[in-house]
Amino acid sequence: MTLYLLRRLLSLSLTLLAASIVVFLVTEIIPGDPAAFMMGINADPAAIAALRSELGLDQPVAFRYLNWIVGMLQGDFGQSYTYRVPVSELVGDRIAVSLPLTLYALALSTLIAFPAGVFAASRRNAPGDIAIMGVTQLGVAVPNFWFAMLLVLLFAITLQWFSAGGFPGWDAGVLVALKSLTLPAIALALPQASILARVMRSSLLDTLDEDFVRTARAKGLSRSQALWGHALRNALIPVLTIVGLQFSFLLAGGIIIENVFYLPGLGRLVFQAISQRDLIVVRSVIILLVFAVVAVTFLVDIAYAIADPRLRRQRR
């Protein structure tokens, strides 16, 4: 197990290294000069040049790459070109929105998907199952930004139950903050919940076909006892993978939803940074997101080992 973890850690760092090169190169060839953007349409060329040197953009590529990497290893993500504050500070502010939103959406998605999937699986091909599967089929097909628009139209504009967006900050109180994240979290969670419910159902159905479930039934367990006591834990393994993937997807994938609800989250930070050519922010945030994906995969692997004793001992 330790060896396995070490190997995974090594491959994790290699992935990050490769990702850092890719991201750096892509942001390097992106057309548009950050300094020119910042100084605007009537700017004096000399002023742009002065800004370029102030931002360190006149240094050679390799030097800037190493500078960035070494800085990151020391926990210094550099300074935002546009905001002129440390990237880490900027990212910290945004994570305070994106992470809770992600967790909120993930919690909603799991809370919806779990019972729905179990219910559907336990009533295979019965009307309840077919109804749930129909709804999830629809949920998967709905683009979340469209769904978000409809939510705003209904709950913010027409009913005025929720504000149409924005984030008052955690200082405004946890409940207030959570309320402002509710519509976005629902918009994000619905398609994810649909996917998860489907995975949950099919995984559970597969497990219910396993011999050991039949054994459990032969022991005298009722259908639902066998489902909860024996099938569920085994069925959770593929579900865990999806939950892990969804976490990383939601963390980065909220961009459009963040735009619809004008939430100051990570996705919008990058989106904005791309259009403003705040390349250092783009790089650092993407690397951070890659790190999150890799780290979550790693955690999911550990979770596997906990869920499945067969993996606890040795694993290649």
């Binding site: 020119a36 900027l90 945004r94 149409a164 984030f167 004008y262």
Partner: protein
């Protein structure tokens, strides 16, 4: 003290009567949330070009020697008054007394000298360095007097000093203005929640008339739909530059809101690359101008808000000459001109920056050009790309952009400007204009300049960008127009 008490008592009494008469409920609200489309990248108006900076801090946090009023007039600000020498080269500014910066330090002539010298220095990152180009020297005569000497007369100098890029800052705080702006205005910077909002608070020691609001929050909502929803839901109280004109009808119909329609300094043009074939042929440029139906663009892209223009000049300016008839919508004429120029199957690139007027206007223009046989290939670009590709590399045929700086007809005299006009005759007119201070002569020269660029069909002049805002009906004192990019909150208040 006694005096004060009396005043207070009187005020209270009056308020009581008024209150009984007009407002049975609570006292008026003293905080406001103002929606803006773009978040400023930083809050230093002397170190960045973004309009959003001025929209937050101009006249609220920072002030210059002079300032613009709501109708575009240049009036004294930190300079109480000034004397101009006979030759128009020396300006002596008499500064206001009792002005303090928000950090408590006092304001004097040294701060003015520092600010102006900083802006025109070699390594300055001031985006509008050109404003200071004619300044030869700045001298602090005494604590309340500053003498500025110009190298040549400049009729626009007081106007220039009213710009946000020319505000006065203190040397001690100059380096941190980007994140912690300290100025002399009626509001002091309080907090900045990045990606969401900037909050300002009333500055108790303000030299002038105290603002009626205690707190102003600028909330950044880039998405027009979100903006609509935010206004509808009451998340923002006012959105002075509302990005979706199509929604204004709904606001008009709703008694909770007032719609404020004003003008801006934004001449919106279909810019053409004057040195790139085939657009170096005036006939083709004229053909394009005639192919365009301005009213259709205004109706389709701006839902009827906006004034057609026939040259690069703001219609609300007294010196404006209406030349729209000269390039009236006439597809027949356009086709004829194209024939005369001997081109057929013309394909031109049309690069569109992000604002809705450009993206929507572009689609309409492409359709209109198609009617006369010109294919416009649309590419939507971001600002960064536009600056690099269009503005710097001049790799374009057509583009749509709104030139929002006030009185910017001078760009037609610039060498190497992106639409590459820089006609010698036009430059001569401008040179003369700069030397002229007499209003009548100036007016004539300005007319001449307007006619010249219209005659040459440098660009297709579309419309003056409107400023369409929406606000809670109980809010008073918002600027209807935008003589500069600003949201001056000094005179804003709530009624009940």
């Amino acid at each position: 003290m006694t005096n004060f008490k009396t005043v207070t008592a009187t005020v209270s009494a009056v308020a009581l009567i008024l209150g009984l008469a007009t407002m049975p409920s609570l006292a008026a609200q003293t905080d406001i949330t103002v929606g803006m489309q773009l978040e400023p990248p930083n809050l230093d108006p002397t170190g960045g070009a973004a309009a959003a900076i001025d929209e937050v801090v101009y006249a609220n946090v920072f002030e210059g020697l002079t300032r613009f009023t709501a109708d575009g007039e240049v009036v004294p600000a930190l300079a109480e008054s000034w004397d101009i020498s006979e030759d128009g080269l020396t300006y002596t500014f008499h500064l206001r007394d009792g002005v303090t910066f928000h950090d408590g330090s006092s304001f004097d002539a040294e701060d003015v000298k520092f600010s102006i010298d900083r802006a025109r220095a070699e390594d300055s990152t001031n985006a509008q360095k050109a404003l200071f180009a004619d300044i030869q020297s700045v001298e602090a005569v005494d604590a309340q007097t500053v003498k500025i000497t110009l190298s040549q007369p400049n009729g626009l100098f007081l106007f220039n000093m009213a710009w946000g890029d020319a505000v006065i800052v203190a040397p001690e705080t100059a380096d941190t203005l980007a994140t912690d702006p300290v100025g002399t205005g009626p509001f002091a910077f309080a907090t900045w929640t990045k990606g969401d909002s900037v909050a300002l608070e009333k500055y108790a020691e303000y030299w002038g008339e105290a603002p009626r609001l205690d707190k102003v929050t600028f909330k950044f909502i880039p998405d027009p739909t979100a903006a609509f929803a935010a206004v509808m839901a009451g998340d923002v109280d006012a959105y002075p530059n509302f990005p979706a004109p199509e929604n204004l009808e709904q606001f008009k119909a709703d008694p909770r809101f007032t719609v404020i329609v004003g003008s801006t300094e934004g001449e919106t043009i279909l810019a053409m690359n004057n040195k790139k074939a085939p657009l170096d042929d005036i006939k083709i440029r004229q053909a394009i101008s005639h192919a365009i139906d301005r009213q259709a663009i205004i109706d389709g892209a701006l839902f009827g808000y906006g004034t057609p223009i026939g040259t690069h000049f703001a219609p609300h300016n007294p010196d404006y000459v209406d030349l729209t008839g000269q390039s009236a919508h006439d597809p027949e004429m356009a086709r004829k001109l194209l024939d005369e120029a001997g081109v057929s199957d013309l394909t031109l690139s049309l690069k569109l920056p992000p604002p809705a007027y450009a993206r929507r206007g572009g689609e309409i223009i492409a359709a209109q050009l198609k009617e006369v046989g010109i294919t416009a290939e649309i590419t939507n670009v971001e600002w960064a790309q536009w600056l690099e590709d269009v503005f710097k590399a001049k790799n374009f045929d057509l583009t749509i952009v709104s030139h929002t700086e006030p009185m910017d007809i001078g760009i037609y005299a610039r060498d190497d400007y992106y639409f590459q006009y820089a006609d010698a005759d036009f430059k001569a007119i401008l040179e003369e204009l700069n030397k002229t201070t007499d209003p009548a002569n100036r007016s004539e020269l300005l007319g001449k300049a307007q006619r010249k660029i219209a005659d040459d069909a440098v660009n297709a002049y579309l419309f003056q960008l409107p400023r369409t805002g929406v606000a809670n009906a109980k809010i008073m004192g918002l600027w209807p127009n935008a003589p500069t990019q600003a949201n001056d909150m000094t005179a804003v208040y709530w009624v009940d």
